[in-house]
C-alpha cells in the first residue's frame, strides 16, 4: 500500500504547520508500532528527530518519492543512523516505498535493517550507523552541487553525542572554510547520548559559540517548534548554517521523554497502548 501523505502535504500548495504536526504524529505512531513489532530500535532518538524529519520532508526538501534518484534532488543524510525507524517511517509515509516494508523491519533478508542502507532503501543517500560519517558525506554532496552549478542543497542531521567524533569538526572546519551556503547541519540537541547526559560525559556547550568560531551561522531553536524549524531551515545566510535544534529525547510520550534508558529500550504492549493514547491526543 502506498501512503497518501505526500499528496496531502504537497498537492494543494505548501503544507501548513497543522499538516506537519499531523504528519509528525503519524510518523511517531508508525515508529512505535514498527519498533514494538521487531523488538528492536532506538525510540528516544527517533522521537527527538521526528519533528525535524516531518518538517524536512513535509515542506523543506526538494525531493520526489516517485523519482528518488533524480539528479537535482536535495540531499538529506541522517548521520545518527540508529534513528533508522523514524527515517523509514517518514520515507514510507512519503511514498518512497510501500508501507508494508515496515512490517519486515529486522526480519530475515529485509531491506530494512537496524541502520539505513542506500542500496536497499529508496531515498537513503549513504549508509550510516557508525557515528560521525554523515556530515563529511553531506559536505561532499554540497561541494559537488557547487562544482556542477546546481542549486540543490544538502542537509544532515547529527546527534549531539555524535558531535564528540572529531570527523564532525573536520567537516565544520572545511565547510566554514569553503563558505558552503548550500549546506545545513542540523544538530539534534537532546542532551543525552547512549549512557548518560552529554554534559556529564564530554561536554559540548557552548555549542553555538563553537560552530560560529568555525565560520558557521548558529541558529538555536526549539526543535519541536514546527514554525521555528521551518524558518531556521529555509532562511538564507551568507555562511553555512548549523541549526541547533534543542530537543527532548523521546519527545511525545511522557514516560519515554528525557531518560537515558530509553535510548534503545523497546516498549512493551502495555506501554505501546499508553503511548498511542498520548500520541493521539
Amino acid at each position: 500500500m502506498t501512503s497518501d501523505w505526500w499528496q496531502r502535504l504537497h498537492a494543494a500548495g505548501p503544507a501548513s504547520t497543522a499538516d506537519i504536526a499531523d504528519f509528525a504524529a503519524e510518523i511517531r505512531r508508525t515508529t512505535l508500532v514498527t519498533i514494538n513489532r521487531a523488538g528492536l530500535g532506538h525510540i528516544g532518538g527517533d522521537y527527538s528527530v521526528t519533528d525535524i524529519l516531518s518538517t524536512l520532508y513535509g515542506r523543506v526538501l526538494r525531493v520526489d518519492p516517485a523519482n528518488p534518484d533524480w539528479a537535482d534532488r536535495d540531499r538529506f543524510i541522517l548521520s545518527k543512523g540508529h534513528a533508522a525507524v523514524s527515517l523509514y517511517s517518514t520515507l514510507a509515509l512519503s511514498g518512497f516505498f510501500p508501507l508494508e516494508w515496515l512490517e519486515t523491519f529486522t526480519g530475515p533478508l529485509s531491506a530494512l535493517n537496524g541502520h539505513p542502507n542506500r542500496n536497499k532503501v529508496p531515498g537513503v543517500e549513504t549508509n550510516t550507523g557508525p557515528l560521525g560519517h554523515g556530515f563529511p558525506v553531506a559536505l561532499g554532496c554540497a561541494l559537488a552541487a557547487e562544482l556542477q552549478g546546481s542549486d540543490r542543497r544538502s542537509y544532515v542531521v547529527i546527534g549531539d553525542g555524535e558531535l564528540q567524533e572529531g570527523s564532525n569538526w573536520e567537516a565544520f572546519m572545511f565547510g566554514g572554510h569553503r563558505r558552503l551556503t548550500n549546506l545545513t547541519a542540523i544538530i539534534d540537541r537532546n542532551r543525552l547520548q547512549q549512557g548518560d547526559r552529554t554534559e556529564n560525559t564530554n561536554s559540548l556547550d557552548p555549542l553555538d559559540a563553537k560552530v560560529e568560531a568555525f565560520g558557521w551561522e548558529a541558529r538555536v531553536i526549539d526543535g519541536h517548534d514546527l514554525e521555528a524549524l521551518h524558518s531556521a531551515l529555509t532562511a538564507p545566510s551568507d555562511r553555512p548554517v548549523a541549526v541547533i535544534a534543542e530537543t527532548t529525547k523521546g519527545k511525545g510520550v511522557s514516560f519515554i521523554e528525557d531518560r537515558a534508558e530509553w535510548h534503545h529500550k523497546v516498549p512493551s504492549a502495555e506501554q505501546v497502548a499508553l503511548a498511542l493514547e498520548e500520541l493521539s491526543r
Partner: protein, 313 residues
C-alpha cells in the same frame, strides 16, 4: 540437561575488577560504552580509574597510549567494529608501532549485533589487527578462557587485541587447566579424517559438527584456536599431516582472518585440501543465529564442508 551459556562480557568484567583490586595500575577507557562493555560495576568501584571519553574512538586509543606511557595498564573497551575500524591508525602508530602497553578489548565482535547490520558487525577486525606487526590477537571461546585470557593480557607487557563475545556460548574447555595458554591451541576433540579449526563462537558449533560427522563415520578433530597471533603452528601443521584435510570456521572474514592465517602457514609448510568458512560478505538483515547459519557456520554447514573434503558427501 540444560547447558550454561555465557555472555563473555560478564567474566571479562569480573576478572578485570579482580585484577584492578590487586593492581592499581589497571584503568579502563571507553567510548560511551560503559553498559555495552559491562563496565558499570568497575565504574562504581573505581570511578577515578574509568575514562569515558565519549563517542570518540580515535581519541580513546590515543588517550590509552598516553596512560600507558605513565606506567598504567589501560584496558580500552569498545564495540569491536568502532574500536578496530575507527581507530585503526591509532592502534597501528600509537599502540603497535610504539609498543605501548595497551589492551584493546573488542566487544561484541563478529555478527553478534545481528539485525543492527554490517556497520555494527565486526567481521574485519581480525584481518585488520593481524596486519599489524607484533600485536597478539586473543579470542577466548568461553567463560573459563575469557577469565584466564584477561589475566594473561594484564600481565603481558605490550599491546594486545582481545576479542570478547556477547553471543552466549557454552563451555568448550571442559575443565581443562589451564583453559587458556597464550600461543597454544586446544584440541577439544580428537579425530583422524579431517580437522575443524574454530575460534570463539564457532568452537561449540564445530564440536556439534564433529558429532554429526561421527554419525556418518567421519572422525573429525576440533582445534580451538584462542590465540590467532601468534598462531600455534605446531598444532596446525600436525593437524594437516595427521588428518590431511582442514576446515576453518570463523565468525569473521576468511581473507586475512583465521582462515587466511592457517592457509598462509600451510601453504609454506604442508599444503592440504582446505575449506575456509567465514562471514565473507556484508551480511543481509537477520538475527545472529540466522546469519551464522546463512554463512554456513551452523553445525550442519560445517559438517557439510568437512564431508565434502573427505569425499563422502
Amino acid at each position: 540437561m540444560s547447558t550454561v551459556l555465557t555472555d563473555c562480557r560478564v567474566p571479562f568484567a569480573h576478572e578485570l575488577i579482580e585484577l584492578a583490586r590487586a593492581d592499581e595500575r589497571i584503568v579502563a577507557v571507553c567510548n560511551d560504552s560503559v553498559s555495552s562493555s559491562n563496565l558499570g560495576e568497575f565504574r562504581s568501584l573505581f570511578p577515578e580509574r574509568m575514562f569515558n571519553v565519549g563517542i570518540a574512538e580515535q581519541n580513546m586509543v590515543g588517550v590509552a597510549a598516553g596512560l600507558a606511557n605513565a606506567g598504567l595498564i589501560p584496558f580500552v573497551c569498545a564495540a569491536s567494529p568502532f574500536l578496530t575500524g575507527r581507530a585503526t591508525e591509532q592502534i597501528k602508530a600509537d599502540v603497535a608501532y610504539s609498543r605501548a602497553n595497551v589492551k584493546l578489548v573488542g566487544m561484541s565482535p563478529g555478527v553478534s549485533y545481528g539485525e543492527l547490520g554490517p556497520t555494527h558487525h565486526s567481521i574485519e577486525d581480525i584481518a585488520w589487527m593481524r596486519a599489524l606487526d607484533g600485536l597478539p590477537i586473543v579470542t577466548p571461546a568461553d567463560d573459563e578462557q575469557t577469565r584466564e585470557a584477561v589475566r594473561w593480557a594484564a600481565g603481558h607487557v605490550g599491546g594486545v587485541f582481545l576479542r570478547i563475545g556477547r553471543f552466549k556460548v557454552p563451555s568448550v574447555s571442559g575443565g581443562q587447566s589451564p583453559a587458556f595458554a597464550f600461543g597454544q591451541s586446544n584440541a577439544v576433540r580428537a579425530g583422524t579424517d579431517v580437522t575443524i579449526i574454530a575460534s570463539g563462537v564457532t568452537v561449540s558449533r564445530a564440536l556439534a559438527a564433529a558429532e554429526l560427522l561421527a554419525d556418518q563415520t567421519v572422525s573429525a578433530r576440533v582445534l580451538n584456536i584462542s590465540t590467532i597471533v601468534p598462531l600455534d603452528a605446531a598444532a596446525v601443521i600436525a593437524a594437516a599431516r595427521e588428518t590431511g584435510r582442514i576446515v576453518v570456521a570463523e565468525e569473521s572474514v576468511s581473507r586475512g582472518g583465521l582462515g587466511g592465517a592457517v592457509a598462509e602457514l600451510l601453504a609454506e609448510s604442508n599444503p592440504v585440501p582446505m575449506r575456509l568458512l567465514g562471514v565473507n560478505s556484508f551480511a543481509p538483515t537477520g538475527s545472529v543465529e540466522f546469519l551464522l547459519d546463512h554463512f554456513g557456520l551452523s553445525p550442519e554447514g560445517i559438517a557439510a564442508a568437512a564431508r565434502e573434503l573427505v569425499g563422502r558427501a
